[in-house]
Symmetry: C2
Subunit: 346 residues, 2 copies
DNA sequence: TCGTAACAATGAAACGATTCAAAGAATCCG
DNA sequence: CGGATTCTTTGAATCGTTTCATTGTTACGA
């Protein structure tokens, strides 16, 4: 109905100058208590709300940070987003969230949008090759931090998780609990994450003389793909079976679990131990609670914001040599029933 | 490094007036081809990007729409969000997403933020009682549409799903396939959704003379809660068992399924048919693919944006009588193996 | 009582885009 | 060729906030 009140209206109503109202809002210490009270009352009576557009315009930059993720539906990103939002809130910024859905054109649209909004900086989990765009952004004063993607430290800051270490952790755990004939279940190794996790597992297996690792290719990373692999396994004779299975993600592991437990001829973890990756919500409530590798998503989100703040500061001050950091987190082993106890080595 | 170029810089570079540059951007038809080319080239050379803050300031409102959901991790909302984003993009707006996480203070923070941003309007799935805040917002020219919550049509527009109809649909399906001794599994009926779904189920059962409906209270809506109920069921003697179970959501249903299939004494769907609600991704890849009730999330998101557009128009024109609409969608039955075939009535 | 310092309050200028009345150019027709 | 008409371009005014040099006020010590 009525146009919303401006700082000028407040000033008139409180019988002070506009600058004073601004001071009440931004530097309360500079204003006497009496005046402050009058202004605050006027603000209340008129229902004044700061116009952020005007503030930004004057300030030259906004208090928002752009965050573009590959898929908001993915619990990994959901968790990262939440942590980033909280960390940003602590430093007085808000996060604008964009979901590229693995689509390069949506990604590009969000970059445009955020640039028009003059965000302080950008956190991005990129789809395509955006290095050119990002360089351009930086030239225009918008720093970027790559999320879940290791970056060349001479060019960008980044936060990522060490998938090789995660793979090592999983395989090592199976070995530590006495399993020796391991199997890795994973989609095409063209996916970097899958390849790294496999490599880590191989590294662990190489450390134990009598251990072996078999690679079972799953065509995809879904429960159904896992069930396909599981069905292949249950048809084997007892001697050919692995005694420890590491799946490249939890969905695969749940699929394998469905197959193995279906016939009740194989027991988890007694006959076959099973471990997944990601520690999704369903892992804990599986028929046999699933051991998994948890990624430090909260730390990822929080650190991404911190690195961005560093970049923002660096741009603000004299343009010293660009100082980027690539922070790599180590995932964490979560032991549940699916890998409990020690297998009896034959 | 260098401050980003303004429309003035472009104007100088192209040797035209600032108004002309603005026209090239907003009303290309008003500008001759020659001038347009020169201006576009200047824009390109300087890497000019519109400053949205300035544009908003002048325009008095932004091109963004605020959307506050209860939980971005929830697939229901994820899907609504995506649909809303797409619909908004079509009308040239962008969606700012806020996740209240069922927390009233986070919700309140987002309302503040969006108000400072002067969003065109607000879509909200409210946590607490926000009617007062929303009334206030409307007075200040920010219309609201409630999402997933039926609103008094005289006060707000809203989009929601008919949970009673969903409950009816589920129970009716069990009855249609020959089941007669039904059970409803759901958390505290203080949750509106649970109560409505139960009520719909009761309505369906009342239509069939020899049918009965037993209510099994689950303390919560999780897989584990479902397994608790399932464990209680498998201990019953055959005569006391229901032959059709309707769970208030898919997580519960998956938990029940785990229990029932664990011992291999009961078969799904032959001995007991099972149907859930929400049609989450896991429903299709359960051990026995789970029948469910799907909510029209895309339609919800799209329609919410449409209703908001109506409200915006209504506020823009002469303040005629407020015209709100409450759109209620009917959910959809998804039949899978867990309710396949007909039970043999005793 | 005066001078000085510390503190408060003022209000014009600036941020960058859009708008719009007015001026200028081009075109057309009789 | 003159006048009317249409099409282009101009540039000052405006949006709401912050900034900052300036002015006004108060308090204090000498």
């Amino acid at each position: 109905m009525s146009r919303s009140a401006s700082i000028k209206d407040v000033a008139n109503h409180a019988r002070v100058a506009v600058g004073t109202v601004s001071n009440v809002l931004n530097y309360p210490d500079r204003v006497s208590q009496r005046t402050k009270d009058r202004v605050l009352q006027a603000i209340d009576e008129l229902g004044f709300v700061r116009n952020d557009a005007a503030r930004q315009l004057r300030a030259g930059h906004s208090r928002t940070i752009g965050l573009i993720v590959l898929d908001v539906g993915n619990p990994f990103f959901t968790s990262v987003v939440r942590a980033a939002e909280d960390a940003a809130a602590l430093q007085g910024s808000a996060v604008l969230l964009g979901d590229s859905g693995h689509d390069a054109s949506r990604e590009s649209n969000y970059i445009d949008l955020f640039q028009e909004q003059r965000v302080q900086g950008l956190l991005i989990s990129p789809v395509g090759d955006v290095t050119e765009r990002l360089d351009q952004l930086r030239e225009r004063g918008v720093p970027t931090v790559l999320v879940d993607r290791l970056a060349d430290e001479s060019r960008y800051s980044s936060v990522s998780v060490d998938d090789d270490a995660g793979g090592y952790l999983a395989a090592r755990h199976l070995l530590d609990t006495g399993r020796r004939r391991l199997a890795f279940v994973g989609g095409p190794t063209s996916i970097r994450q899958v390849a790294d996790r496999l490599q880590g597992a191989q590294r662990a297996v190489a450390e134990v003389p009598d251990a072996s690792l078999e690679v079972l290719d799953s065509a995809g990373q879904t429960v159904l793909a896992g069930r396909g692999v599981g069905d292949r396994l249950v048809r084997r004779s007892a001697g050919e079976l692995p005694d420890g299975v590491f799946c490249a993600n939890d969905l695969l592991a749940l699929g394998v679990m469905q197959s193995l437990t279906m016939l009740h001829t194989l027991r988890i973890p007694e006959d076959i131990a099973l471990i997944g990756y990601d520690d999704i919500d369903f892992a804990v409530s599986a028929v046999v609670p699933l051991s998994s590798i948890r990624q430090p998503t909260e730390a990822l989100g929080r650190t991404a914001i911190e690195l961005l703040a560093e970049e923002v500061d660096a741009m603000g001050s004299a343009s010293s040599r660009p100082h980027h950091r690539a922070v790599i987190f180590t995932p964490q082993l979560v032991v549940r029933q699916s890998t409990a106890g020690a297998a009896t080595p034959d």
